[in-house]
């Protein structure tokens, strides 16, 4: 239990390795300015950050959102429109676009989170499609299915990725710090209480509706902000690209694979699964890469659910405590004390 709890509460920050890792990642563009690796790492950061965000809602509070890509897509469009029409650079607007996503998330949560149960899942899924349809049909603003082209950044071609690399890395660092702060706070305890037993949480005085809405708003900030950066990185946004449901699925699988409800779980999941899937796409002919990728994702999901339902970190931790010093069940140890009072 102990290791899990420490990892869950972000304890390794007191250790050197997360900081060493950060320094290493900060140095990568200087030593390894090759586009392929920077691109790979940048997308890993993006998925990791969004997955950590997803986990605040899906892991702590236990409410599965299928709508994160909706916020990602709307973030892409909002940033693109702000740039095309008002000339506001994405690196400045991205956090504000994230805030817009949060407000929208709060609104959606207000509708779907005041009750318990599956209403939320359905509403978030529907939201993705509604958002996609809107962007498709509001042709005069969004360019419809042709999408929007964003002006290029004024940088040499081999350096253009660098600001995105650091931007996504910053997003990931923020995500981890926010997740740690929440896990340690009363707010986080309340969210976990909701996941464990929502009725009991309410009977304990937790304002469950408010907590869930707030958690969802925080959770989608990362999707909205990442979407904004992503749009500028591709210099292009269209409804198919921005609202690909597979992005949400990626977030969920990464979180499950690493361990849901643990700060470092989604980070680990993203750092393993994204490079693997990129490698897979690299291996197979591009004609079928999309389909193979989808199938592989499906297989990973099935395998995780069947053989690793608790995710890597929890399973590793469980495996370690299977050979502990004191294997006696707690009850046996405690009953002596209990009867002697």
């Amino acid at each position: 239990m102990r290791l899990e709890r420490r990892l869950g509460q972000g304890w390794p920050l007191r250790r050197g390795w997360p900081w060493a890792g950060l320094v290493l990642l900060l140095l990568v563009p200087l030593v390894l300015p090759e586009g392929f690796y920077l691109d790979l790492l940048m997308f890993t950061f993006m998925y990791a950050a969004m997955s950590v965000g997803w986990d605040i809602m899906g892991g702590y509070a236990g409410y599965v959102s299928l709508g994160h890509v909706g916020f990602f897509g709307l973030g892409s469009y909002a940033a693109a429109l702000l740039l095309v029409h008002l000339g506001l650079p994405v690196f400045i607007t991205a956090p504000l676009v994230g805030l817009m996503a949060s407000l929208l998330g709060a609104g959606l949560g207000f509708i779907s989170l005041r009750t318990r149960g599956p209403a939320f899942v359905i509403v978030t899924l529907t939201f993705t499609y509604v958002a996609q349809l809107l962007m498709l049909d509001l042709k005069s603003v969004t360019g419809g299915s042709q999408g929007l082209f964003l002006p290029l950044l004024d940088l040499p071609a081999n350096l253009v990725i660098v600001p995105f690399y650091y931007g996504m890395l910053a997003l990931l660092v923020i995500a981890i710090l926010v997740s740690i702060a929440i896990r340690r706070s009363k707010f986080g305890l309340g969210l976990i209480a909701i996941r464990e037993d929502e009725g009991k949480a309410e009977a304990s005085g937790v304002n469950t509706s408010l907590y869930k809405i707030l958690a969802f708003a925080i959770s989608v900030w990362f999707a909205g902000t990442a979407g904004a950066l992503h749009a500028q990185y591709l210099n292009y946004v269209d409804p198919d690209l921005a609202f690909e449901l597979i992005i949400t699925l990626n977030l969920i699988i990464m979180s499950l694979f690493g361990s849901r409800g643990i700060v470092w779980g989604p980070v680990l999941g993203a750092f393993i699964l994204y490079p693997l899937s990129a490698y897979l796409v690299f291996l197979v002919p591009s004609r079928v890469a999309g389909q193979v990728h989808l199938a592989a994702l499906g297989i990973v999901l099935v395998l995780v659910v069947m053989f690793l339902p608790d995710g890597l970190i929890r399973s590793y931790q469980g495996w370690r405590t299977k050979r502990p010093k004191d294997a006696r069940p707690l009850e046996a140890r405690a009953s002596i004390v209990e009867t002697t009072g």
Binding site: R184, L189, I192, A201, A334, V337
Partner: protein, 244 residues
């Protein structure tokens, strides 16, 4: 400071089944009131109405001057009414200490994001765990505790909300005699400090030695109220328990 709980002609039915029919009763501040009755007489339904889990079809409930009807469970807790459940409900995948911190009153964004377990709240939590003799388990996952320890934890956690009225749903259920004695002692001690109790219990020995007054409900109505001895001698009560 402590307040009376007044329930006035509260009714609640589920489909065609009437669980409470014009049920009126009063829990005086400072008392240890028992609520007894045969299975299905509406005791737990009454608990659920008072604590906001059910919305009564009619009637009014007051705690002191405050009307409870229509409030949500979390608001009612903050008025000073805490409860436990018939089937013990704790957060099994949280530590004992975390279980204790969840019910701490949490208002405002500033307190919400401060560290969960610290300072005088932690001291209070540990003091209560000490009081119930389970402080040595503070860092264990609550799900690993024994049944009796889980019951004590639920009780201790309910106290973290700083209630003035504590509603216990079968606190002695499933406990061995030694534990029941301990529980009786705890309740007496808390009551001496001014805590009001409303207790549902089937263990008559426990009720008779601890509670006064005893309120009997049957088919959703109060049929008797009085001292344990008076209630025991009441023919209506015997009728209700032994069948018509």
């Amino acid at each position: 400071m402590t307040k009376d709980l007044a329930v006035h002609s509260v009714a609640k039915s589920f489909g065609g089944v009437t669980a409470l029919a014009e049920c009126s009763l009063e829990v005086r501040a400072g008392s240890i009131t028992a609520l007894i009755g045969p299975n299905g007489s509406g005791k737990t339904t009454l608990f659920n109405c008072v604590t906001g889990f059910y919305r009564p079809d009619q009637g009014e409930m007051r705690f002191g001057e405050t009307v409870l009807t229509g409030l949500r469970p979390n608001q009612i807790v903050h008025l000073g009414i805490a409860r436990t459940f018939q089937i013990t409900r704790i957060f099994k995948n949280m530590t004992v200490l975390e279980n204790m911190i969840v019910p701490v009153r949490q208002l405002g964004l500033r307190t919400l994001f401060t560290a969960g377990i610290k300072g005088h709240e932690r001291e209070r939590a540990e003091g209560l765990l000490e009081f119930f003799g389970i402080a040595f388990l503070r860092d264990e996952m609550a799900g690993r505790l024994s049944f009796g320890q889980q019951k004590l934890l639920e009780l201790a956690a309910a106290l973290m909300a700083e209630p003035t009225l504590l509603m216990l749903d079968e606190p002695a259920g499933g406990l061995n005699p030694v534990m029941i004695d301990r529980l009786t002692g705890y309740i007496r001690e808390l009551n001496a400090d001014g805590m009001t109790f409303l207790i549902i219990e089937h263990n008559m020995g426990f009720v008779m030695q601890l509670c006064e007054p005893v309120i009997v409900i049957h088919r959703g109505r109060v049929i008797a109220r009085g001292t344990p001895a008076a209630v025991r001698a009441n023919p209506a009560v015997l009728d209700a328990y032994l069948g018509d």
